[in-house]
Symmetry: C2
Subunit: 322 residues, 2 copies
């Protein structure tokens, strides 16, 4: 029921996923009559998709903690409880991010040795991809919690994205040790003592430079950085379009470049990477962008499958112990 | 002596400025023999540019506080002392930002009612321009200091950029009151009680949306946001170029779009706006990007002239009193 185009695109994405991925079953949690009528309209008649009724919806603008406490029969709370009770192996939502974080923490609890969950997103860089963690689950973290994010992201890059010996950077405002707030300096010391492949401080410019595979930061800074990127990418497209349309040769040039532009947009498109894993809870949880389209939903289901199949949370637990 | 292309581009920018702007004199502070030989080579023979010797240079990577304390004869310290002593009316540097902030604070002191200086940068938005303050002078500010940044930026938008009744937003991770860290919540309350045209919290996406004219944030978050923007803009150009070059029709299309691309780049070019004002010190100080070219230097001199002519710091003092 969550996201800007729910439930229709969620259903389309689920249908695409069960058709493309073997041994995949999806339980659609929410307004059952509405979901069933949309399934009928989409002409899905297979047995890989079932429904589970939840009478309430947590809206995008609602306060996470309050809504999770009050709306016990919301699709987010009900869906996560299905995973807690073993009736599902992974949970995906494109709805209220704060509510998913809050409900997942309450319902699934944390993995041993992890204090707080973190949201990791995958971003394209000049050399490939990188994970930025945390982008909003924990806006006032302790240094040790950032350390735990580093360990979890390291496991994610290794076991889900097959990156060998991922390099970890700590987001600050200068590369030298000793740059940044007291919080950053304390966190730096913890990382230096860790077994991670820690390369030191990185700067905002390194989110896209490919200098490292993992960028660790507090959820406030990470959320601002993420939203700045999204909005600048959009603004640049608008700026460029305005300039093209004001140029007599522009429209012809733009036609010739159409394929390039569309591959370019695809590279920046979050939906290629599915959703963002909520790392640290005792269960597989993927959070989708509010604007998720069917392809993003399908890819998020693929990613959640991979986390389950590769027993990803066990890897985290082992890494934290080590 | 500061910046990636100093002192040559500084000299070129100074020459362009004294030619274009009436009643403008520039004192070039630094390695006098070197500057004089470059002035000769540039064939400048007028009387609007003079030199002042400083035997030391604070390098870009040096620790601000230490270098300012030790290098008393550096171009930054000497230049700011000239302004303090009334031998100059404004100071510009494209060098070590932290050192300029530190030396300006020590030498010029703060304006009455202002506790800490803040760096404000001008960024293009979908509706025009906006100022983001602070982008790195004060990485661990108090709520009252952010309030002071709001007042100073308001004065800047009114008296330097002629924006009527500028709208002020507080950078957070959600628009609703009560979103964000405790620090953001306390700052929100101060802004709400102020006389500023406060529109509430804004998000990272609003740096380019044009939702407000001024975005206030702490210097750590502001610095990350600024560097994320710069690097994404560059990365997008590289991504787009790669896609264009891999397309047989791409090169022809790109040729037809050349004028559009160059106007597009110009719109994103910091050098159009000169440098970033260091607001709050008792004197006019403009900080340039390390990569400043001659045009950026020229524009920074224009902006510093405007601050002087419009008695900008008096406006700040009046606003703070009110």
């Amino acid at each position: 029921m969550g996201g800007d185009h729910a439930p229709a695109v969620i259903i389309d994405g689920a249908i695409a996923a069960v058709k493309e991925y073997e041994n995949t079953e999806v339980v659609l949690v929410g307004d059952e009559p509405r979901i069933k009528s949309l399934l009928l309209r989409a002409k899905y008649t297979g047995d890989k998709i079932s429904t589970y009724h939840a009478s309430e919806v947590i809206e995008m603008s609602e306060s996470p903690a309050n809504s999770v406490r009050k709306k016990r029969d919301s699709s987010i709370v009900v869906g996560l409880n299905l995973v807690k009770d073993g009736l599902g192996e992974a949970f995906f939502s494109a709805g209220n991010t704060g509510a998913v974080v809050c409900a997942a923490t309450l319902s699934l609890r944390m993995l041993p040795g992890i204090e707080r969950p973190g949201i990791g997103i995958i971003t394209p860089t000049l050399k490939g991809i990188a994970m930025i963690i945390d982008v909003g689950a924990n806006i006032d973290p302790k240094p040790m919690q950032l350390m735990q994010y580093g360990i979890m992201a390291d496991a994610y890059m290794r076991y889900i994205l097959s990156v060998t010996d991922p390099q970890v950077g700590l987001l600050s405002i200068g590369e030298e040790e000793g740059k940044g707030t007291e919080f950053v300096k304390e966190t730096y010391e913890l990382f230096e003592k860790s077994k991670l492949n820690f390369i030191g401080n990185v700067e905002g410019k390194d989110l896209f430079s490919g200098k490292c595979d993992i960028i660790v930061c507090d959820g406030f800074v990470g959320n601002v950085a993420l939203k700045v990127s999204e909005s600048l990418a959009e603004a640049m497209q608008v700026f460029l379009k305005r300039h093209i349309m004001s140029n007599p040769l522009g429209i012809l040039g733009a036609l010739l470049l159409k394929a390039s532009f569309s591959r370019f947009k695809k590279q920046l498109d979050y939906s290629e990477y599915g959703g963002a894993p909520l790392l640290g809870v005792d269960g597989v949880v993927i959070i989708g962008h509010g604007r998720s389209n069917a392809k993003a939903i399908k890819n998020a289901i693929r990613v959640s499958r991979e986390e389950v199949e590769r027993k990803f949370n066990e890897k985290i637990t082992e890494a934290v112990k080590a």
